[in-house]
């Protein structure tokens, strides 16, 4: 495995090369661009699989440290310090890399169908390759600098891809919102990195005992700011970055707007990978999070993490209940599930959180790709009120989507059930209140997914009223093979992947794989499992009652929920007015600051500048008047006048009149006489 880790860099490098080549391609070279992209990620997938098997073989059951191989090298040196980069190969990395490449591969295949009619096909795949490279780089990095570079690159690609159709004002606004909101989180992240580097003196995470994470115990002993230990403080700062990237409350506002991008983008970035990067980062930096609580048994940061996740989970689920855009429902659902993962991590369940990350990637990507198929099939219709009865038009999409929905709703034995159950169990042991809220969110999840299923696939087709987009217009149709094959593959995983982490088979294989020294807690497992099944069933039942028994007949029929509780529905539909709140407070405040600074600039700074200019000009005028005008010009003019006048005087001597000459002669004679006689005297 030590030789293998030296080839870890290939995994992100191949998509990077593909992106570089694709950036040079012309608009017409569509097949080449897509081919490069898919080939690159395909090969990376094979490499990741190889790395995965390497971590499985033999070492997985042993102590954690032996299962990790690292390779650090010096990038460049300056003065006394040198900048290192490094790659790591351990179960966490291998699992994530395998998941990202695999899911990414199928998403790219689907995208060839989704973007078939778009004229910016090549640019799309170039950005997707770049994103894949950045995400994989983030996953295999053993070094904070490399991690941060890839973190920012992932944000950049998200920006570029959300605003892929930048000519639409809503897309342009959404791309900016995404970037800026994640930036807010990244401030904390950066502070965390700097503090970690400062306190540990190294940017490498693992370095044979000298790495930053290996010094977590030492950091826990130091005291940081805000009443926390150094390790906790750094962990909190790093978590702010995760809050931005993984759309936790209150920085979640960008994720729903990010649905402006093409659906494959939503599937890859905003379901499976980028938003998971925040969760992955918490998992990677977990030693810092748990360092303090292990030694000092004070749980502030972990509690904070758990509660943020919990609030996000419930909050987003409530909003998802009242949305009409098919992608918005899924977006809020993603937000909610991320909240689950974070809650699980905060409750101390590293394995639970990462497991849910894994399963969620598969079924959420499945759901997004499915919604992409629906959108293409209904000729770019996204409003669920205008859909309906698609089951008979798009059967393959329907069955795959159904599997995804069941997985998300937490129906056993599908994937989502086991992973969500693990999280709820871990939370159960930390805080009953959080566990209650989590179960309520599970109920809501089941409810809104059922609602979506019935609105989209059941009943009769409500669309086609004057919305003749696309060449066919009118009736929806099934999508081509390159769009339904990926979702079929992913649905298979959605069914079986959960079995990896179930306690019934092999006593949670995933736990053994990822963190063998941890013990999966079994106490109260039965209660939790039972209650979560009940919550899920209740949600489905309510959904069927409201949306399934009597499906909507027309596109402008009122939503049954809206009919029953109109004010509540409006609040939920308007996303709890959070965006409006931000607009009124933060945005307006920033604009005011800008105006204030501009005022300062114009009055004070420009005033000073103009003052200086005025003084300089006055001085120069003065000098010109005194020096130039008075002395130089005046002196020169006077000299010239003098010469002229003396010339005039002299010329009078040459009058031509003899008598004048004679007079001069007389004067001259007198002078000579005087001189002569004077000399004679002496």
């Amino acid at each position: 495995m030590d030789e293998l880790v030296k080839q870890q860099w290939l995994i992100p490098f191949l998509p990077l090369v593909a992106a570089a080549i694709q950036s040079l391609l012309k608009r017409g070279q569509r097949k080449l661009s897509a081919g490069l992209c898919i080939a690159a990620i395909g090969i990376s997938c094979l490499l990741a699989m190889r790395a995965l098997f390497a971590t499985l073989g033999g070492h997985a059951g042993e102590a954690h440290e032996a299962a990790r191989a690292i390779w650090n090298f010096t990038w460049f040196e300056f003065a006394t310090t040198n900048l290192q980069l490094g790659f790591v190969l351990d179960p966490l990395t291998a699992g994530m890399a395998a998941m990202v490449t695999f899911v990414g591969f199928w998403i790219f295949v689907n995208a060839t169908g989704y973007m078939a009619e778009d004229e910016n096909y090549t640019r799309f795949f170039c950005f997707m390759s770049l994103f894949a490279a950045a995400m994989l780089g983030l996953v295999v990095a053993n070094n904070l600098l490399l991690f941060f570079i890839c973190w920012e690159l992932v944000g950049l690609c998200s920006y570029l891809l959300i605003g892929f159709w930048f000519f639409k004002p809503s897309a342009a606004a959404a791309m900016k919102k995404a970037f800026i909101t994640t930036r807010v989180g990244d401030i904390g992240f950066f502070i965390g990195i700097l503090t970690l580097y400062w306190q540990t003196g190294t940017l490498n995470l693992y370095d044979n005992g000298h790495g930053a994470l290996e010094q977590a115990d030492k950091l826990a002993a130091l005291s940081g700011w805000w009443g926390l230990s150094m390790a906790s403080f750094i962990a909190l700062m790093l978590f702010f970055g995760a809050m931005g990237k993984s759309a936790q409350f209150p920085l979640h506002v960008w994720l729903p707007d990010a649905m402006e991008g093409p659906t494959p983008v939503s599937a890859l970035i905003h379901a499976a990978t980028m938003v998971a990067a925040g969760v992955f980062m918490v998992g990677r930096m977990y030693p810092l999070f748990i360092a303090e609580s292990a030694r000092y048994d004070s749980h502030f940061v972990m509690s904070f993490v758990m509660w943020v996740g919990c609030i996000t989970a419930v909050f987003s689920a409530t909003i998802a209940v009242a949305q009409w855009d098919i992608k918005r429902v899924l977006a809020y659902s993603t937000c909610s599930q991320l909240g689950y993962m974070v809650m699980g991590l905060g409750a101390g369940g590293l394995v639970a959180g990462q497991f849910h990350l894994l399963t969620h990637a598969f079924f959420k990507a499945l759901l997004f790709l499915g919604s992409g198929c629906v959108i293409i099939g209904t000729h770019h219709e996204q409003d669920m009120r205008k859909m309906g009865g698609l089951k008979k038009y798009m059967p393959i999409t329907f069955w795959c989507y159904l599997i995804g929905m069941l997985a998300l709703a937490g129906v056993p034995p599908f994937a989502g059930f086991f992973s969500k159950d693990e999280i709820l169990l871990t939370t159960f042991h930390r805080s009953r209140l959080a566990w209650t809220l989590g179960t309520f969110a599970a109920f809501l999840t089941a409810f809104y997914m059922t609602r979506q299923m019935f609105m989209v696939f059941a009943g009769k087709w409500r669309g086609g009223g004057g919305h003749g987009h696309g060449h066919h217009g009118g009736e929806p149709h099934e999508v081509p093979w390159n769009m339904w094959l990926p979702i079929a593959v992913l649905s298979a995983f959605a069914v079986f992947l959960g079995l990896l982490g179930t306690p019934f088979i092999g006593d949670n294989m995933f736990q053994h794989y990822l963190a063998p020294e941890g013990i999966a807690e079994h106490e109260g497992a039965g209660t939790v499992m039972g209650l979560s099944i009940a919550a899920g069933a209740l949600g489905i039942l309510l959904g069927w009652l409201m949306y399934g028994r009597k499906t909507l007949q027309h596109a402008d029929d009122p939503d049954p929920l809206e009919a029953t509780a109109a004010p509540l529905f409006t609040v939920l539909n308007r996303k709890w007015y959070i965006d409006e709140l931000y607009e009124a407070t933060i945005i307006r405040g920033t604009v005011l600051c800008g105006v204030l600074f501009r005022l300062i600039d114009e009055l004070i700074i420009d005033g000073v500048l103009h003052g200086i200019v005025w003084v300089t000009k006055a001085i120069s005028q003065l000098l010109r008047w005194i020096g130039d005008e008075f002395f130089i010009n005046g002196g020169f003019d006077t000299a010239c006048e003098g010469v002229r006048e003396s010339g005039g005087l002299m010329s009078r001597l040459q009058s031509g009149r003899v008598q004048n000459y004679f007079r001069l002669l007389g004067l001259g004679t007198a002078v000579l006489l005087v001189i002569y006689f004077w000399k004679l005297n002496q």
Binding site: S655, G656, R657, V658, Q659, F662, R663, G666
Partner: protein, 103 residues
């Protein structure tokens, strides 16, 4: 006769100055020539005066005087001829008008 030399010198000097005044002041060219004659005579008088007071035994001064008088006469003849010629050109004997050699 016991006139000191100084008196004779003053006399000749006075005559010379008078002649000079006339030469420098008058407008008429002929008057200027007349004044020049006066100056000449004053100078020649000085010769005889000094002969009388110093070199009484030698004739040099008288010779000088003869030649000086001759030259003065010749000069006045030429001068007057010139004045006549100028008068013919300028139609006047005003010295102020005789300013340029070019006709």
């Amino acid at each position: 006769m016991s006139i000191p030399l100084g008196h004779y010198l003053v006399l000749s000097g006075l005559l010379f100055v008078i002649g000079l005044c006339g030469a420098l002041t008058r407008k008429n060219a002929i008057i200027v020539l007349i004044a020049i004659e006066i100056m000449f005579n004053a100078g020649i008088l000085n010769l005889i005066v000094f002969w009388h007071y110093k070199e009484f035994a030698v004739l040099t001064a008288q010779m000088f005087t003869i030649f000086a008088i001759s030259i003065a006469a010749a000069e006045s003849a030429i001068g007057l001829a010139l004045v006549i010629a100028i008068y013919r050109h300028y139609k006047s004997v005003d010295v102020d008008e005789m300013q340029s050699l070019k006709g």
